[in-house]
Structures are given as C-alpha cells and as structure tokens.
Symmetry: D2
C-alpha cells in the first residue's frame, strides 16, 4: 500500500484524487494540499476518504508516512516543488509540463541523477485505449517502418485571452501533448520543426500574442515525417485522432462518442459528436497513468514517462515558437539546453 | 454479336436498352416493341441506335435475325410471351416474376425441357457488388456453415393502392427479391415460412387487402434459419442490407450512398442517406445481369438464374401468403406444384 | 448513506460489490453472504472494505442496520429470499430472473403490494450507453411510431451442457434479456411470440434438450413487430445490437470494442472484435443499475425496473418454449398467471 | 452533336474514347490519332465505333467537321498541340499538366485571349463524387470559413525509376492533383508552400533525384492553411481522402471500395481495401469531366477548369521543388511567370 499526498486541489488534482480512491486499491491518499483550501474542498476531500487537508504543501513533503506526491499545482510551481520533493525523498508524479524553462527542467534532471526516486510526467493521452492500440500496432511491427505520422488535435472551445497570456502559447500549452504523442507513436525523436499558423478563431487570442490554428511539420530521427494540425475551436467537440502510415500498412484511430447509436432519417445518417473534452475523453487514461506510477513504485520498475519525456516536448514547443517567429524550419538542437 | 429484341418499353425496358447500348459491346438491339409505342418513345429508341420500333412484340418473335428477347412487359404477359418465344427459338431474359401462377411457370419449364434455349430470370440484386461480396464470402467458406441469414429490405415509398391491388401482394411483388436473396446467400432451399405482418404505413394498403410491414422467418434445407424484415416505407430511403452468420464468422453488407462524405457539426456526425431507390442502387447490377445473359448465349453456358430460380421465390411467396392468412408456419411443400 | 448487504459472492455478486465500493459514494456494503464463503473470498471482501462476511444470508436479513439487499445467489433461491427480505423490510435488488415459475413471481408481487419496499430486477442492459441512446431516441419521438424492432444477441461461447440442463433453456436463460430489451426499446408489451430454432452450435446442447440458435418473432401491443436473433456462439465475440425502425426514421446501435483503431494493409481494413462478453461490455451498466437502485431508495422514487418487469420476460420466455414445442405462434395470454 | 478527335491512344486516350462512346450521347468520335497507331489499336477503335484512325494528329486539326480535340498525348506535346489546335479553331480538352514550363503555358493563355475556344484541363478528381460532396458542402457554407484543408494522396505502387527521371518530380507528376484539390476545396489561391520530404519507399527513386514521401504545407489567400501528405506506395491501395475544417464544422471524405461487405471473425472486423488505383477509383469522374467539356461547348458556357486552373498547380509544384531544394517556405510569387 502506497501512501500518497496530492499537491493542488484544482480540477486535475480532483481527477487524480477520485481515480485513486475509486480505482487504485494499493494506494491511499493521506493528505491533499492547496493554497486556496476552503471548507467546500475540505468536505469533498473528507467525503472520498482523504484524512487531512492543508494549505501548505510542505506539510506533505515533511510527512514521513507519505511515499509519493502528485504535483497538480499551477505550472510555474512544478519544477520548484519537484526539486523540494526530490530532496524530501518522495516519488513524484508531476503534471505536464515540468516547466516552460528548459534550465529549470535541467535542474530537476540533475537532482534526480543517482536517486531511486520514481518520476513520472502526466502525459495522460499515452494511456488512452485508442492511442495505445495505435502505438502497440506500431511497436509490434504491424505497419512496418513508420513513414508518416499524423495527429489531429482540436479543442472544443478556446481558452480565455487572459489564460492565453500566461499559457506559454498554444505550442507549450496545447500542442505539447501532440509533440509527446508524435514521440510515443513513432518511437523516435523529433529533430526539426516547421510551423504554419494563423489566428482564425478569436481575434482576442491574436491580440494576446498567440495563434489558434496551426499545421506543424516535424522531422524525426528515424527518417519519418510527422504532421500535427491544431485548432483551439472545433464546434463538433474535442477532436483527437492519430494515424501512423508505414511500409507495411496504416493504423489509425478516431474519436469516441457517448454511444455508437446512429439515427437515419430524411437528413441522412447521424452519429453522435465526439466526447466533449479531455475530462470526458481521457477519464480512464487519467486513472491508468496513476496506476502505472503506483505500480512503478511498488514493483521498483521504471515509470512509463520519465523526466526526459517531460523535457523533449518542451524543447519541440520552444523550437515551434521560434519557427513561427522566424518563419523557417528550426532544428531542435538550436534550442539551448 | 448477339441481336436482341426488347419487349416492353416501360421503365425497366428502357433500363435494359440503355445498359445494352452503353455497356454490352457484343449485343445490339434491333427492335423494341410496346403496345403503347408513341413518337416520343420511338425517338428515344432511335437516339440510342435502335433501328426498329413496333407495337406488336410478335414482329420480334418472327424476326429470324433476332437471337434473344428481353421480356419487360407487364407481369401477366411474362409466361405467355415466354412460351411463344420458346416456340420461336429465341433465348429469353424474363423480368421477375415469370408468373404468380405456379401452373404457368410449370408450362414454361416444360416447354424449355430438352431445348437449347437460354432462359434467365431478372433477379437483379444477385449482381449487386455488395450482395455478391457477401455471397462470395459464404461460397468461399469464410463464415463456415451458415446458421442465420438476415435480409433487410425496405422501400423508400409505398406503391399506390391501385398498384397494390394488382401487385399480387407484398410477398410476390416486393419480398420475392428477398426470397431469392435468401436462396442466393445461403446456397440452400427454403422449406418453411412463417409471416408476422401488419398494416402500419398506409391504411389504404390495408383496405386494398395487403400488408406493408413484415417479419418473415424461413427454415432452410441446410439447417440454417433466415429472417427478412420488410417495410413499404423507410423515410431515409431504400434500405437494402444482408448478413450471413455462421460457424466461423459473419459477413454483412450495408447500403450505398451518393458519396461517403461526412459532416461533423454541433448536431453530430452526419453521412448521406442510402441511394434513393432501385434504379439508383442497382443500375450497375441491371447491366451486369444482361451481360451475363449475353455471355451465356455467346459462350454456350448456363445462365446464372434459370427458370427454377424464377419458380422457387414464387412458391415461397405463395406459402408466405398462406402463412399470413392462416397465422401459422407453412411448408413450401404445401404449395401445389 | 445506504447500508447494503450482498447475498451471493459469485461472479455477479463480486461485480456489484466492486461497483458499489468504487463508484457509489452514498452506499456502503456492511456484509456479504455466501454458503461457500471461504478465506480467499473473505480476504477479497476485506480488501475492498466490506466489514463482515457470513455463510448465512439470514445474518443480513436480521441486521437492523442494513437497508437494502442485493440478491446475487443462484436463480432457484431468488424468489424465496425475495419473500424473506420483504418480510424483513429490506429494499431489494434481485438479479434476473426472479424465478422461472410464474406462481413464485406472483407471490413476490403480492408480498410487495402496499409496502414501501423498493424492488428492482437486474436487467443490466437497459443501463448500457448504447441501448440507452436507442431507447431515448424512441422516447423522444425521433423515429416516430415504432414499426420494427430488431435485436441481435449472440454469445461468444456456449455454456456447458451441464449448465444447459439447469438453465431453464436458452429462452429463459439468455433470450430473457432480449425480451426485456424489446419491452424497453418499444415501450410496449409483447402479446404473441413465434420461435424458429435449431441446434447448430453443439450437439451436446441438443442432447441436453435445448436449442442454441433462434429467430424469435414478437407481436407488440402497439402494433409493432419485433424480431430477436440468438446464437450461443459467435466466434468474433459478444454480438449485442439493436435497431428500432419507425415512421420517421431508424435508430440503431452496434457493438463496442476495446479501441476504435483500424489497421489497413494488404488484407483490407481491420477493426477490433466486439468486447468479449458481458463483463467487458456491461461493466458500466452494472454499476449504473445499482446507482439507480440506491437513488430510488434515497430519493423515494420508483425503481427503473419493478417486479412486473421481472415477470413479463419470464412469461414471454415460457410462451417461446411453448411455441418451439408446438411449432406455432403462442399468445402470451396462453401462459397461466 | 459535337464531333470529336482524340489525340493519343494510350491508356488515358482509351479511357476518354470509351467514356464518350458509352456515356456521352451528344458527342461522337470521328478520328483517333497516335504516332504508334497499330492494327490492334485500330481494331479496338473500330469496335467502339470510331470511323478513322491515323498516325498524324494534324489530320484531326485539318478536319473541318471536327469541333473539339482531346489532347491525350505525352506531356511534352500538350502545349504545342494546344497552340496548333487553337490556331485550327478547335475546342480543347487537354490532359494535365499543360506543361512543366510556365512560359509555354503562358503562350497557350495568350493564344486563347479573345477567342471563343473552350479550353479545359483534365483534373479529373474534381468530378469524383466524394470530392464533389466535400466541395459542395464548403461552397454551401456548411462548415463556415475554411481554416484547415487536409489532403491525403498515396499511390499503391511507385513508378519505375525510369519514369521518375522524366516525370518532372513527384510534385509536378503526382502532387499536382492535390495542389488542384486544395484550390478546388478551399475556393482560394495558394500563396506559399513548404515541403518536408524524404526518400523512404525505394532508394532507386532517390538515385533518380526524387523524393517519394512528403508533407506539404500551404498558405492560402483566404487565411486558411492546407496540408498534403503524399507517399508513392501504400500497400493497402490508392488512398485518396480529403477533409475541410472550418468555423462551423468539418466535412471529410474517405476511400471507396469494391463493396462495403465486412467480415467479422476471430481476427476482427475486416472491410475491403480501397479501390486499387486511379482507373478504378476515378472512372466515373473521367466520364463526367468530358461530359462537362462537351456541355460547355454545346451550351456556350465556361468550362469548369480553364487554362488558369492548369497553370496554378504548376506554379505551386515549382515552388514546392524550390522549397525542397532550399529547405524553406517559398512564396508562389517567387516563381517567375
């Protein structure tokens, strides 16, 4: 039985808390911390069996009984708390991204060197049943050598312009998941990126200095080419698809819906929209990633996504930003590390 | 080069005429006959290269140059003209059904005995690409021993009550195609039929003494069971599907649409309706069946659908009528032949 | 918070126990009873937080703290324990079927009369996301008046001949779910049934006095016709589909798979098989039905499936057996009640 | 009735000849010319009703009875024969591309200025039922403002290295169709192109100086972004898909197969591969484009694809070649015209 503390009781902290209490029998949450802890959140925590609540995450780090922490606080605190948790000897599950600043990720990497601490980054989509099936087909050689990887990733609704300003930009906030997906599905590393992007959804996003629609081309070490298409707003819902084409075939996955029922009438044959957004689509994936983390601790094996897996997508994201600014293909090696 | 005469210049006669002139290079139509032949039809015939038009089909039967006739006249004349054409030594393609009266079909069978005349019945659906793929999978053993055969056959629009009165009833008019399909897909013979039917679409059909909605269960010689569901009106268009389930798997086909384009928006993911009706869905099948008929003549081989194939669905249809009337399962052997 | 006792710790008892502990926050299981309770089961019970285990279900009935029982014991005990639980004043969730003997179901109905006890029968499929979507479309009038209801229900593997002998026959054991589904999707009652069945899967099933393949036609009070096709063995897995066709359109649902990934290669375009069997396909439905039961208790409202809903499918099943035996359509009213 | 001459009796010349004789009643082919005309081809021509065959296409240009010519000769002769045919006053259907040399296309444009000659370029895919449905949905505003256009275009088999050497390279030989498709589906013009390409299919193609796999990003005048993915070899057959995503939704089309039959067995649920190659997929489109050409002559209206539509994809193709060479985004305006 692994004793866990959760740092951050926002949306994603709550998702992980519920996942653990309902589906991970060999983990128990002892404490949840949030600087804005209030009676309502405290009552919720109690209702799902969490013993302690606190405003200070250090209470968790100091607690000898706690084996592992889930860092679900705001992005700017991820690397700092990671470093402190490493010092405190806790295993760490850290929400993506570790940081937007490569230097800070580097510090986490260095702090982990030689330690036995398990570190996992929260790229939840790797644990989605559809993407897993695609990745497994590639790994098993069913499509031969990968040649073209295609990711479609579109959100149902754009973030607020306020959020856009502090988000690090679409590539570090949204596309970062797709950069990880390219690495996951190809089993290779990105070496170069080219961005063609535009501000088509909401002029306020443009005023906030960001784009909302993009085609991103990536060159991979294994010779394959990848392309991501992003949009901050798809009126039909969360569009999350992937396709890997290779010398022996193609494996592709599409969206999930609430049901597969189809209505035939004078207007045609109509199926349901994709599941609305990430909480609907990836709920099982969120549970599975934490299960794997706990399993890595219990069985003393590597986590499925280490700190390097947290770093690479940030490097690609920074190269993508540079490509957009300089309107040219940018090598990942141009980004200082 | 086979020289052909077409008897009947109604809808289906025109379909065959166009099929031959545009897609069957080794057949030419010399004459087309219709009791209601008028200048407009004559002009149409000329425009597609048919030399002669006549009101009297006997002009065709007397013409020594003509090798084969297509009987596309009204149903009540099929067996009579068949007999005359046999006497005249013409190969015969006869639209379904040969007759509703089994005794008359019997006469055609007897007249054909010992002759070298090729006789083919117009069950066009056997030549549809989707049903052919299903039948081929069954023949090739891909689904093992057939156990359940399911046919869905629904029209987009009910016929007029006037037509219903002279149609011989839904089972002989519409379901007859599905009875043929059961034989085609199962490679076996029907031994018993049970009908559960209702008048749900249009009360006028009921007043005309017919049903418009039915579930028909069939027992087959090879041990399999089949079920047909019919309706005279499907608002979404012509619904023509089949499924054969067996010991090693299932093969199923669905409808065709004008395109496979799918629109995703706030209402869901919408594809097109099925092709509207039989002329849209089966145009290629109509051409293919006549190609096979001409091929049988040219290469002196059996036609794919002989007079027995014209008889069996009529027997099943008559048994279905009896089952509906007597509300019990009826053996095909109960129908006098 | 509702306190629950579970009677029966077999496969389905365990499913419900897990559902409650992981997903129903306002219910807690105090005791689980099983005549074959052993240390392994006891350990499992403890591991998911169940306080007490017992061999005697009467310990549960006697416990004043327990509000509700889930009867998951063998079929022959369902009605007896139901009666005892009613006497003890417990709310009851009873696995299907209540009994194969109509007289015994009648006794349960009578015992419930006038009481405030909530009684729910375990027809889990009504809580499946796909069937719910179909039923909702019908209820919302999207397909107009239902005219044809079609249910496909095929198991991946036949039961053992030993099980077949005590199962009550395919209609009461397997098709009973489909009889319920016809009632659920049509919103109407079955008035007549006709069975065409065969023994095609395994001769041992025939020797045990049962069939394994069937087409079952049903007449409904609202004028619609329904058809169920069953087979005890589909090599591609659990095949669970439904279609409702009506005056304004058709709503249909198909199977679920582990993922929607599709592999395109020289052999074609291949998607996954349906989920293997009922535990895979209906896990979420099992949880949802118990949630609804608890909700009915907490909010003092009717359960979604009362004792009448447990009775009707048994009546239809008995009529189906009679139809098979007498080879004729049988009215439900012929079955004594 | 339009009298037509066909210049070139290779594969595509034969396709057009058959299309006209079987499906375009208001056109007749008087003469077919080919420098390699032989008895076999002459016999074929006669069998489909073409009166004259010749080795010299000038016989066609000189023939006062001939209204229109179809230029189906080798690419390097397209612009030259176009100019001669303009001089001879013939309407012209010219296979794509008009030329790889922009200056030569310019000459054709100038020669056409002020004349009443109808000129159509053979971008057949615009007449495919699936792509038409996508384009129509866009034109009708069903997806709002286009934001992302995606084209997948993969051949089933790579060309021979010999062909590659004279083909003008993949972008002018294969992708040129996709450049046209982007213009067709977006209703806008391409302003910039970026290529990421590789030689992954066959090293011999690389030795011949070409690539075989590519992701091509395009910027459009209306603000949208487009992406094409190409491969010279897809083992599962000809992969031709398109997707247009916009502010109000998405419209997408997929491949066609010989039938829609699906086999379910222990390996999964398998549908057929896409139709093998362009002759199978686009046969109806080839006929429709010539119908439109004849219709434009008869009804004195514009052809659906003028000489400008022949020019633009060549400009984009040349820009793509430059982008590949210089590894940077290239503006179409950089290509001299």
């Amino acid at each position: 039985m692994i004793t866990v503390g959760i740092i951050g009781a926002g949306r994603i902290g709550k998702v992980h808390a519920t996942s653990i209490t309902t589906g991970i029998p060999n983990a128990r949450i002892k404490t949840i911390a949030d600087p804005f802890m209030n009676p309502k959140t405290a009552a919720w925590a109690k209702s799902i069996g969490i013993k302690n609540v606190t405003k200070d995450y250090k209470d968790i780090l100091k607690d000898k009984e706690i084996d592992a922490v889930l860092i679900c606080s705001s992005t700017d605190t991820h690397s700092k708390i990671s470093l402190e948790a490493i010092k405190a000897g806790k295993h760490i599950f850290c929400e993506k991204p570790i940081d937007h600043d490569v230097a800070k990720i580097k510090k986490v990497m260095e702090a982990l060197k030689g330690s036995k601490i398990k570190y996992q980054v929260g790229f939840n989509r790797r644990f989605d049943h559809n993407f897993e099936a695609v990745a497994n087909a590639v790994k098993e050689g069913k499509i031969g050598n990968p040649q073209i990887i295609k990711i479609t990733s579109r959100d149902p609704e754009p973030p607020s312009p306020e959020y856009v300003k502090v988000s690090g930009g679409m590539f570090l906030d949204m596309t970062i998941h797709d950069f990880d997906m390219v690495r996951y599905l190809s089993g290779s590393e990105v070496t170069e990126v080219y961005v063609q992007a535009a501000n088509l959804v909401d002029p306020a996003i443009g005023k906030a200095g960001d784009v909302d629609t993009a085609i991103i081309t990536l060159k991979l070490k294994n010779g394959a080419i990848a392309v991501i298409d992003n949009c901050r707003k798809a009126v039909y819902g969360y569009d999350q698809r992937a396709e890997v084409f290779g010398s022996k075939g193609m494996i592709a996955c599409s969206n999930d819906s609430q049901s597969n029922a189809k209505l035939s009438n004078e207007n045609g044959v109509t199926g349901e929209k994709p599941l609305f957004f990430f909480l609907e689509r990836y709920m099982a994936a969120y549970q599975k990633e934490v299960k794997c983390f706990i399993d890595a601790i219990v069985n003393k094996k590597a986590t499925p996504l280490g700190v390097k897996d947290g770093l690479e997508p940030v490097l690609i994201g920074l190269a993508a930003k540079k490509s957009l600014k300089e309107h040219r293909p940018v090598k990942i090696s141009e980004i200082k590390f």
